[in-house]
C-alpha cells in the first residue's frame, strides 16, 4: 500500500468554528486562518442544524472549543462523530475536557489564547493525523476481512490437495497463482472457489493425514 501523501498547503480548506463568536474583529484565529488561505464559517448552534451540515473530509476541518459552556453541542458532536478532522481549542487543560475533545475526534490542539503562529502546525498535525488514522483504520478493516477469509483459504487448500494430489505448500502456490490470474486477493478467490463447489466436495480427510500420505 502506498505511503500517505501529506497535505502541506491548506488553501481552499473550510474551517468550521464551534466556539463563541469573539468580541474583537481582529480575532487571531480567523486572521491566521485567512492568512493560510482557509475560509471560515461559524457552526450552527442548533443541534438539528448540525445533523444537516454537509461535511467533506477533503474540504472541511472543525475547530471545537472544549471549555465548559463554550460549545453547547459538544456532546452531540461526540455522538455524531463527524467524518472530518477536528482540532480542539484548549483553555482548561484538564483530563475531563481533553477526553471530551478526544472523543469528538480531535487529532490536534490549539491553546487559548490562540497565537496565529501555532495555526499551521495544528492544521498540519490535525488534518494529516486524521488522514493517517483513516488510512490505518481502513488497513485494519482490510486485514480483519482477510483474517475472516482464512477459513475459506484452509478449506480451498484442502480441496486442491485432494483434487490434484498435492501437498499443502504446492496447493497454496496453485491457489496463489490462480488468484493472481483472476486479479483477486487469495482469500476472495478461495471464498469464490468454495462457493462454486457442491457441499460433498469438501475435503473428507484432515490435512495432516493427507500430508503424511504424500510423505
Amino acid at each position: 500500500m502506498s505511503r500517505l501523501r501529506l497535505i502541506q498547503n491548506f488553501s481552499g480548506l473550510r474551517a468550521m468554528l464551534f466556539r463563541p463568536t469573539p468580541d474583537s474583529a481582529s480575532d487571531p484565529l480567523q486572521h491566521g486562518l485567512a492568512r493560510l488561505g482557509v475560509t471560515v464559517e461559524h457552526a450552527p448552534e442548533q443541534p438539528d442544524a448540525l445533523a444537516e451540515l454537509s461535511l467533506c473530509a477533503d474540504r472541511d476541518v472543525l475547530i471545537v472549543d472544549g471549555d465548559p459552556g463554550a460549545c453547547a453541542i459538544l456532546p452531540l458532536l461526540i455522538e455524531l462523530k463527524p467524518p472530518v478532522p477536528v482540532i480542539g481549542l484548549i483553555g482548561m487543560e484538564t483530563p475531563s475536557r481533553l477526553r471530551l475533545l478526544m472523543e469528538a475526534g480531535a487529532t490536534a490542539m490549539l491553546r487559548k489564547p490562540v497565537q496565529s503562529g501555532a495555526l499551521y502546525t495544528s492544521l498540519y498535525l490535525g488534518i494529516n493525523g486524521y488522514r493517517q488514522r483513516q488510512l490505518a483504520e481502513a488497513r485494519i478493516a482490510e486485514h480483519e476481512r482477510r483474517r475472516r477469509g482464512r477459513r475459506g483459504l484452509v478449506k480451498a487448500i484442502l480441496h486442491v490437495m485432494q483434487r490434484d494430489g498435492l501437498d499443502d505448500d504446492t496447493a497454496f502456490e496453485t491457489l496463489r497463482r490462480d488468484a493472481m490470474r483472476a486479479r483477486l486477493g487469495i482469500e476472495d478467490y478461495c471464498d469464490n472457489l468454495m462457493q462454486t463447489l457442491p457441499r460433498q466436495c469438501a475435503p473428507a480427510r484432515a490435512p495432516f493425514k493427507q500430508e503424511r500420505d504424500h510423505g
Binding site: S2, R3, R5, L6, I7, Q8, N9, F10, S11, G12, P28, H31, G32, A34, R35, L36, G37, Q115, S116, G117, Y120
Partner: protein, 379 residues
C-alpha cells in the same frame, strides 16, 4: 522634535559578518534620510552585535528593550529571529526583519521586509528550468534556510521532471569543503544550488572553481552555482578568479537602473565605502518604512506603528514596496542576476511588477507533498 530610539541588532562580526555589516549600513543610511527629511522626528540608533553567536541575540535584545526601545531592526538567520520572537512578543515590541528567508511564519510582532520564498527560490527554479538544467546538486549550511529551500526546490523540480543529483549540509562557518566538491564533480550535475552562507559560501565558490579549472571544466557554463543569498559585498570575499558567472535570485542588485537606486547607491557608498546589496537595501527599506510609520503614528506604540506601516508605499531602490496587511510581508520585485568579475551582477530577468508575498506558499505550491518513489533496483 520627537526623539525615538530604535535598536539595530545585526552580527557585524562573526561568520556572516559581511552580510550583517551591509544590513547595519543600510539601516544607518535610512536613519540618516529619515532624520534629514523629517524635522519633527529624530531616530536615535542603538547598535548591538551578537557576533553570529545564537546565544547572544536574546540577552542583547533584552538590553535594548530594557532601555525602552520598542522597535528592533535586526537578524539575518532564521534561527536568530526565532530566538528573539518569544521575547519580542512577551515585551510587546516589534521586530523589523530585513532578510530574505524560507517563509512559513507570520508572527504578529514581526514585520518582514526581505523576500519570501515565492519571491526568491520559486523564480530561481523557474529560471533554471527555462535553461533546461534539470539535474541539480544541493549544498547548504546546516540550518532551516537550507533545509526548507532545498525542500521547495526538490518538490518543484521533481514535479517538472528534474532530479536532485545530491544533497550535502555543512555546519555554519565550516570551510572543509574538499569532499563536497569531489562529490559534486562525481555527480556532474547541470548546476549546483548553494544555500551555504558566509565564510563557507565564499570558500566553496573559490574551491569549486579551482577544482573545475583543474579538470578543464568551464564551471560557470557547465555547472553554474545558483543561490538566493549571494550579494555584491560577498562577491568580494571570493577569490578574484572565481567571482563571475554565479546566478543569484534577489529582489535587489546594485546595478538596477533607476533614480531611486542611484541615490541609494551614492548614499550607501559614501557611508560604507562599499557596494550596496540586497541585504543593505532590505534593512534600508525596513528603517524607511519604520520612519514613515513612526511619523504618521506620532509615537512608537507598536499597534499604531504597525497599522500605519501597512498603509505606506515606498519608492525603494528596487521599485515600489508596500506591506501586505494580512501577512506583514513586503511586495517585492524578483530578479535574476549573474555575477561579474568586478563583483557586481548583470540582471538577466526581472518581474514586470512587485509580487505579492506568499510566505506559506498557499498560491505557489500544490496542496499535497510530492509522491515519493519506493521502487528500488533488485538483482
Amino acid at each position: 522634535m520627537r526623539n525615538i530610539a530604535i535598536g539595530l541588532l545585526f552580527s557585524t562580526s562573526g561568520p556572516y559578518g559581511v552580510v550583517g555589516q551591509a544590513m547595519h549600513n543600510g539601516a544607518l543610511v535610512a536613519a540618516e534620510e529619515v532624520n534629514r527629511s523629517n524635522p519633527a522626528l529624530r531616530l536615535q540608533v542603538v547598535h548591538a552585535d551578537p557576533g553570529g553567536d545564537l546565544q547572544r541575540y536574546e540577552p542583547l535584545c533584552r538590553d535594548l528593550l530594557d532601555r525602552g526601545i520598542r522597535h528592533v531592526v535586526g537578524c539575518y538567520t532564521s534561527s536568530s529571529r526565532k530566538e528573539l520572537i518569544p521575547l519580542i512578543e512577551h515585551r510587546d515590541a516589534l521586530l523589523w526583519y530585513p532578510s530574505h528567508y524560507e517563509g512559513f511564519e507570520s508572527a504578529p510582532n514581526v514585520i518582514y521586509t526581505g523576500a519570501a520564498p515565492n519571491q526568491h527560490i520559486i523564480p530561481l527554479i523557474e529560471h533554471v528550468l527555462r535553461q533546461r538544467r534539470r539535474r541539480i546538486f544541493c549544498i547548504g549550511s546546516n540550518y532551516i534556510w537550507a533545509w526548507e529551500n532545498n525542500r521547495i526546490l526538490r518538490e518543484v523540480l521533481v514535479a517538472q521532471g528534474g532530479t536532485v543529483a545530491g544533497e550535502r549540509y555543512l555546519p555554519v562557518g565550516d570551510i572543509g569543503l574538499g569532499q563536497v566538491v569531489d562529490a559534486i564533480l562525481d555527480a556532474a550535475p547541470d548546476c549546483v544550488f548553494s544555500t551555504l552562507i558566509g565564510t563557507s559560501a565564499y570558500r566553496f565558490f573559490s574551491m569549486f572553481r579551482a577544482a573545475c579549472t583543474k579538470r578543464g571544466i568551464d564551471q560557470a557554463t557547465a555547472m553554474p552555482v545558483l543561490s538566493c543569498s549571494l550579494s555584491e559585498p560577498e562577491l568580494l570575499q571570493i577569490e578574484p578568479g572565481a567571482r563571475d558567472g554565479h546566478i543569484s535570485s534577489s529582489v535587489y542588485f546594485s546595478s538596477i537602473v533607476s533614480a531611486e537606486n542611484r541615490r541609494f547607491v551614492d548614499a550607501y557608498t559614501r557611508h560604507a565605502h562599499g557596494d550596496a546589496s540586497a541585504d543593505a537595501e532590505a534593512s534600508y527599506v525596513a528603517v524607511r518604512l519604520l520612519g514613515l510609520a513612526l511619523a504618521e503614528a506620532g509615537g512608537d506604540d507598536i499597534a499604531a506603528v504597525s497599522r500605519s506601516a501597512a498603509g505606506q508605499v515606498l519608492r525603494a531602490p528596487q521599485g515600489l514596496v508596500r506591506l501586505d496587511p494580512q501577512t506583514m510581508h513586503a511586495w517585492l520585485t524578483p530578479r535574476i542576476g549573474r555575477s561579474t568579475a568586478e563583483g557586481r551582477f548583470d540582471i538577466l530577468a526581472e518581474a514586470a511588477a512587485p509580487v505579492q508575498p506568499d510566505p506559506y506558499l498557499v498560491r505557489s505550491m500544490p496542496k499535497l507533498e510530492p509522491a515519493q518513489a519506493h521502487l528500488r533496483l533488485v538483482s
